[in-house]
Point group: C2
Chain length 154, copies 2
């Protein structure tokens, strides 16, 4: 089974190359240009403070089932990471929506580079999407260890 998609828009970002982008979006402001033919689909979007952005990691070549991340030296299963080297290189970010300017979404926190094809935009509903107490396995272990290290440091 093969699945085909096409971009609904494109990212304009101060990040020009994959190595420019932080592992997660940080505070950078980007612009998502939705193509004219899909513009009508943006009606009522301006009332949302946050959006899910699903995009295509067009610079990602190939994938690995076990990957290293910037956070530690161990290998993790790719599905237990946000690595771009995925079987389907789909990017995902929660962004803050700062403004809707015609067919352009001005957003904060998107870790996608200039020219990234956008596949979908969805509204963020805190009731179903926000899990503030979620546990994050291997990543939390590192955070806990680092806090311990800082406490032990002179």
């Amino acid at each position: 089974m093969e699945i085909r998609m096409r971009p609904i828009g494109v990212v304009h970002s101060p990040y020009k190359k994959p190595e420019d982008a932080p592992p997660q979006g940080g505070e950078t402001v980007s612009r998502i240009e939705i193509f004219e033919e899909f513009k009508e689909g943006l009606r009522d979007l301006e009332g949302f403070s946050h959006l899910h952005i699903i995009y295509w990691l067009h610079r990602s070549k190939g994938y690995s089932l076990l990957v290293r991340t910037p956070w530690d030296t161990r290998l993790h299963g790719v599905f237990a990471t946000r690595s771009p080297r995925r079987p389907n290189p789909i990017g995902y970010a929660v962004v803050e929506l700062l403004a809707v300017e015609g067919k352009v979404l001005v957003v904060r926190g998107l870790d996608a580079i200039e020219g990234t094809p956008v596949l979908d935009v969805k509204p963020y509903f805190s009731g179903i999407d926000a899990k503030p107490h979620a546990r994050a396995g291997w990543f939390e272990e590192i955070e806990t260890r680092e806090k311990g290290d800082r406490k032990r440091a002179p």
Copy 2:
């Protein structure tokens, strides 16, 4: 530009038809079977309490830029809703991970029907993904109005 993907797994759900599934996943327990060739990518996933599941709404035919939802009678831009009638019919849900049984993820809260192709699984990090105070425009207006109506009711 055409983008091609292939399923990494398949959903086994008590929901057999689109009309069986609630608008959002509710409390149902489903099983996500990851195909054997991608199984190694699950290493360390069991430490996460929640996952992002990205899937293909294979029963969705065509799209509309303006859609009605179960919540009210007005038309909204499709990108301001979670309607399946999207230009790229990508489904998205945050689920609770109950267990990893070999290559099967047992999850709660997936609003996908039996046989749904899964495109990606990502770990949920509360620090970047949880926005408990997100505002939800047109949807919140309905909730507020309904609360008002209940107060006014005898």
